[in-house]
């Protein structure tokens, strides 16, 4: 019988041996998950700047149409469509996923389960470089004749199906290729996440002792893996329609445009949960630490997330209530959509219960986690409105939808992401970030984010359609124009408010105080090794004795209890606590 190479053994043999690696192997083509995580992070932060700039262009155009955007120039109507498309595409596929899954997932999963590296380090490196290639393809699409994709991030047929309709030829073709490469990248990454978390856990790390961040990452990976396939098929079909003239989605050639919408949203809806779940994971890691209390309802949360993951596959047509699809589908999809709010509500209540009567410490990670939780609630509640087909008939395609999804995505991706960055920065880079700058960053971000999107709920209710170049062209929208101005000014301050973060991030890397092993006095395994962790992560692979949230255990010597310390070591009188 062929020798089965044991999991830990494989990790050991594939971890680079401790000889000197050249610059290329160490920093560029590294197979170390921590370096790869930082590569994903760098890419996502760069793309966030690009995406943020597109937001600036959009908001300027909406507040002051017919004027030249400061620092850019005049935005044409076709250009506006392209900017809106690229804003969505970049933010979802090239910021949210690389940051929350690529960076956090890669950095944390091996550390949190007590492994030396990912299961397939070279595949890991390959998945990053695939994403890098995808980003280059997408950025290249800005410079091709005809400009970048301009059919919305959803790229609906028949608009996207024929270059004649948008006037964009290679822009959308490159968009399709970039998105397909991004899918391939995260499929490969997902294989790593799942295998590592299931197979390479340290001794004593049962599934029920895994930190919630790991649960979120692996459930996100599974949901992504299962939902993306049909869209990959659809993307190939769309590319063929556009390039060689097949008619899969073209009504004039016997095709069905609705098929594209179904394929897109069958993936698109689970995708938004893929993006949101790790953000929740960050909040659920941060809140217990900064309230010195165990997470409330750990198993309930895991069950809810699995339920949400399953349900996410049967809600997609709520994006299509007014698409002309079979009306009999409206009721079942409304029911499932409203049902899916239940697991998320459970998670929100669990987080609130975690905070309840905790010893709250308002450090920057906690501020962002709290801000994210609070803001998400508005997003979740407005989702119920949109999930009811009858109400959606009015609200579909308006700014109400835009505000809704920004209130679900921004809190999870950006508030959750910032919470994670401030929380794990000491571990990743071995330095502490500046707390004051962090608080300034939070206040500006939180206040301005709400100032941008609350007005947009109102304009949406007034009937303001999405993706239109000039709202002032419509008589009935003239009264809400002041709201657009407020939102735009808030956007500009919001974007400027990110500079404290950028400065903090860069300067702290060189001038920040050296980080101790466990600056937050947290329990999870990544805090039981050096900051930053050495090659192989742990000098000796830890053994795990407890769950991740044993804070303020009665009769223990201190208010935290690392997962790798036994009852006796945390000061409990007899083992059996």
């Amino acid at each position: 019988m062929a020798e089965q190479v044991h999991a830990q053994g494989i990790a050991g043999s594939q971890i680079e041996s401790h000889h000197e690696l050249g610059f290329l192997r160490r920093y560029i083509f590294s197979v170390d998950h921590k370096t790869i995580a930082k590569q994903y992070l760098s890419l996502s932060l760069f793309m966030a700047i690009v995406g943020g700039f597109t937001a600036y262009l959009i908001r300027w155009q909406l507040a002051w149409p017919e004027t030249s955007v400061a620092g850019w120039g005049y935005v044409e109507p076709d250009g506006y469509n392209a900017i809106v498309t690229m804003h969505g595409t970049i933010m979802v596929f090239f910021v949210a996923m690389p940051m929350l899954l690529g960076a956090f997932g890669n950095f944390l999963i091996p550390l949190m389960v007590g492994a030396g590296d990912m299961a397939f380090p070279r595949l890991n490196a390959f998945s990053f470089w695939t994403l890098f290639t995808a980003s280059m393809v997408l950025l290249a699409s800005f410079f091709v004749p005809g400009g970048p994709a301009a059919a919305g991030w959803t790229s609906y047929a028949p608009l996207s199906d024929n270059p004649l309709y948008t006037g964009v030829n290679w822009g959308i073709n490159l968009w399709i290729i970039a998105v397909a490469l991004e899918f391939a990248s995260f499929l490969m990454g997902g294989v790593n996440f799942l295998t590592t978390a299931l197979n390479m856990r340290a001794r004593g790390m049962t599934l029920w002792r895994m930190p919630l961040m790991v649960w979120m990452e692996i459930i996100a990976a599974v949901v992504f893996l299962l939902s993306v396939g049909p869209l990959v098929a659809g993307a190939v079909m769309l590319l063929l329609d556009r390039t060689i003239g097949t008619g899969f989605f073209a009504p004039d050639r016997g095709g069905d445009p609705l098929l594209w919408q179904h394929l897109f949203w069958f993936f698109g809806h689970p995708e938004v949960y893929v993006v949101a779940l790790p953000g929740f994971g960050v909040m659920m890691e941060v809140m217990p630490v900064f309230s010195r209390k165990p997470i409330f309802g750990y198993r309930t949360i895991v069950t809810s997330v699995i339920a949400a993951g399953l349900l996410s596959f049967i809600v997609w047509a709520h994006h299509m209530f007014v698409s002309g699809m079979d009306p009999r589908l409206a009721t079942p999809f409304s029911i499932t959509t409203i049902l899916i709010s239940v697991p998320f509500a459970i998670m929100v209540f669990a987080m609130i219960a975690t905070l309840w009567r905790g010893s709250i410490s308002l450090k920057t990670p906690m501020l962002f986690a709290l801000g994210g939780l609070a803001s998400f609630m508005l997003g979740g509640v407005t989702g119920i409105f949109l999930g009811s087909a009858a109400v959606d008939i009015y609200l579909h395609g308006t700014y109400f939808v835009v505000a809704h999804f920004h209130y679900t995505l921004f809190p999870t991706v950006f508030f959750g992401g910032f919470a994670g960055l401030y929380y794990w920065y000491p571990k990743m880079f071995g330095r502490m970030m500046n707390e004051t700058l962090g608080q300034i960053h939070f206040v500006l971000t939180f206040v301005c984010f709400n100032a941008v999107f609350i007005p947009l709920f109102l304009t949406g209710l007034a009937g303001n359609p999405r993706r239109i170049y000039e709202t002032t062209a419509y008589e009935f929208l003239k009264p809400v124009q002041p709201l657009h101005v407020i939102a735009t000014i808030a956007t500009i301050v919001l974007l400027l408010g990110q500079f404290p973060f950028i400065a903090n991030f860069v300067v702290s890397m060189f001038r920040g105080a050296r980080a101790p092993q466990n600056p937050w006095q947290a329990n999870t395994l990544e805090w039981q090794t050096d900051s930053p962790p050495p090659h192989g992560n742990f000098r000796t692979i830890p053994v795990v004795f407890r769950g991740p949230y044993d804070y303020t255990v009665p009769a223990a010597a201190q208010d935290w209890a690392p997962q790798s310390q036994s009852d006796r070591e945390i000061g409990l009188a007899a083992a059996g606590g």
Partner: protein, 93 residues
């Protein structure tokens, strides 16, 4: 664990069945059977062939429930998708 010789015999036996089922499938098309019944038969045959390969060559017969789930869930999922799309796509005209 099966003996070595049984393993070899089984692999070859499965191949014989696969070829036989291929011939059977082709025969069905030649017979004057109503279209729907013919389709049901050939897809049934295809499913049996697939099951033979999956169970014996891909060793799913011996794998843990977890691996079986990883293989089975996607199949159920896309069949579910197909069913959900029937009203909209298949009956659209």
């Amino acid at each position: 664990m099966e003996s070595v010789e049984h393993g070899l015999a089984r692999y070859i036996g499965v191949w014989v069945w696969l070829v036989a089922l291929l011939a059977a499938g082709l025969a069905v098309m030649a017979l004057p059977v109503p279209k729907l019944a013919a389709l049901a038969l050939i897809f049934g045959i295809a499913s049996i062939k697939a099951a033979l390969v999956i169970r014996n060559y891909m060793h799913l017969k011996y794998e843990s429930l977890f691996i079986i789930a990883v293989a089975l869930v996607p199949v159920l999922l896309f069949i579910g998708l197909a069913i959900a799309l029937i009203p909209d796509i298949a009956m659209h005209r």
